[in-house]
Symmetry: C2
Subunit: 194 residues, 2 copies
DNA sequence: TCCACTCATCGACATTTGTCTACGTTTTTT
DNA sequence: AAAAAACGTAGACAAATGTCGATGAGTGGA
């Protein structure tokens, strides 16, 4: 089960892990199974864990005054899951994270992650790359959100993330794009005509 | 002039820099002065430099098919400036970065930054923190953008970034928020009544 | 099998936001 | 000092998006 994590790390660092390093990592990450709709993190709690998705699908979202959910992030296999704001600042999270499908995770504490970054340079490189990529993806999405209308946002999204479209229902995608499910339905109808 | 950079680093790392380390850093960062409206980076170029703002104000924006500008980021004193996507991926940038006021920068090449991260652990810590903070800020803004209507976005923004409001004109703020200057004007008018 | 629930779509209507043109003021440039 | 440009606001209208209630198809659980 840890293999998918090791191969992920090896793909994202300059050289392969030694078996000692693998052992260290293995010791920090516990396999956990979540059934559909279970919480990984609840609003108000401090995020103390980081998960690596071996199999499954998850979402991160906030809930507004009216009870409406707003999807901040979607996750699939080989993605890291956590609320970084809460984990880094040690503040109560404003988000919920839960599973959308039955999901297998490798879970480590934030403290152990920091430890591994200190002990294994390759691990540090990998997390640095992961931080940078997350930021880049976030900036792209932001740019798309402030620059385009709903139809172009959906088109871009569908092109760049076909797997999300396959795995998550439309009202989730709509929320991720910052529109209502009704608007997404209209947008798709228009797009069909072409 | 390098002092503001040193004190920034010392504020964001576990222990203070040694004078050897300061010398190394000093050698990599060249002071540069930009007059208002000068480009730091143009769309299509690969971002090869990273700037630290000693004094001044800058903006990062994309330009759409119709020639409209969309503000992706605003920068003031003690902020790092670069297009991280271009710098990390070595791809042509989709953004422009220019000065909004006369600005004093400390500029290093991306290659030198990587070098410093390798040579000075404290510098690595600082950039890691900076990456994480950038991501957190980006996520917050994204959440606000997809969750709120224009008036709440502006209210939140004004509360969290009063300095931006003082230094940048309204049409820039509007673009940053993903609305037109006309809408922002209306929103402000409504807010006055309360 | 039946029931409850989720999901996507639709239409009518309300609200928000964008577009465009115009105007007066302020700021910058010549 | 004069001219030009940038800036904020305004109103009228158009377009995009949200809201709500209803429907039917599909899904999973009891």
């Amino acid at each position: 089960m840890h293999e998918s994590l090791f191969s992920y790390i090896n793909q994202n660092a300059a050289s392969p892990l030694t078996s000692d390093e693998e052992a260290l990592i293995m010791a920090s990450f516990q396999p956990k199974k979540y059934r559909k709709k279970q919480y990984f993190l609840q609003e108000g709690d401090v995020c103390k864990y980081v998960g690596f998705i071996v199999k499954g699908a998850m979402r991160q979202y906030s809930v507004d005054d009216k009870g409406a959910e707003h999807i901040v992030n979607l996750f699939l296999e080989n993605w890291w899951v956590s609320d970084r704001e809460s984990a880094v600042m040690l503040t109560p999270s404003r988000y919920n994270i839960d599973t959308w499908e039955d999901t297998e995770l490798l879970v480590a504490t934030v403290a152990d992650m920091v430890d591994l970054i200190g002990k294994i340079p390759l691990f540090g490189q990998m997390t640095r790359l992961m931080d940078q990529r997350s930021f880049i993806a976030s900036q792209r999405r932001l740019n798309s959100t402030i620059s385009n209308t709903a139809d172009k946002r959906y088109e871009e999204f569908a092109d760049n993330h076909p797997k999300f479209i396959q795995r998550f229902p439309q009202h989730i995608i709509a929320s991720y794009l910052g529109i209502t499910k009704d608007t997404l339905s209209r947008v798709r109808k228009q797009a069909m005509k072409k």
